[in-house]
Symmetry: C2
Subunit: 113 residues, 2 copies
């Protein structure tokens, strides 16, 4: 299954699907930003308030990373004043069971309380 993750020069292939997923989830707080967006569309301010420990810069970086990875969609509403809101894309929703599988595995090394 993982053979194609090694490129022609026996280097990790950045297009390796596992690497793609790891890159989408890279960095502190990334999973938490996704978790927040499972509640529905959120403005930058909503997210900043829900995740007060993130600096604006880190939140901006994480949203850019998730948008580039196709997980998050940045939408500008037609209202006045215009509002930008962030939502999970279909790809982002498809990532939730993967995060669930990662959650379940990560929990497995600790006995149930």
């Amino acid at each position: 299954m993982l053979e194609p993750c090694s490129g022609p020069d026996a280097r990790p292939d950045p297009s390796c699907p596992v690497e793609v997923t790891l890159a989408a989830l890279r960095g502190r707080w990334t999973a938490l930003v996704i978790g927040e967006l499972t509640r529905g569309p959120r403005s930058f301010t909503d997210l900043a308030q829900a995740l007060p420990a993130l600096s604006d810069k880190v939140l901006t970086d994480r949203l850019a990373q998730l948008t580039a990875a196709g997980v998050v969609d940045r939408r500008r509403t037609a209202s006045w004043p215009p509002r930008v809101s962030y939502t999970l894309t279909e790809r982002g929703v498809a990532l939730l069971p993967v995060l669930r599988a990662m959650w379940d595995w990560g929990r497995g090394d600790r006995p149930e309380a």
Copy 2:
């Protein structure tokens, strides 16, 4: 699902199950080392030959990381000369469907050839 990943001070909790899984898979080549061990127990030399682009230091680091994460077991056989071999633990085998889910998601952003 991800709320408990934020600690009491609204910082990412290192014991967050998703972080545990990400930490186990951290770093280049990690998934490839796991992939190689799905073929069966392997000595350090076997792994080094199968993954020639990894320096001994990187392979040593990855095996130490995976052993600490409970994914890989390091066994010393009773034979003479003693041989050390690496195998996937039960936890490691349980990680394979998670990697498969990550693989499937990572493949999804590219059209089938």
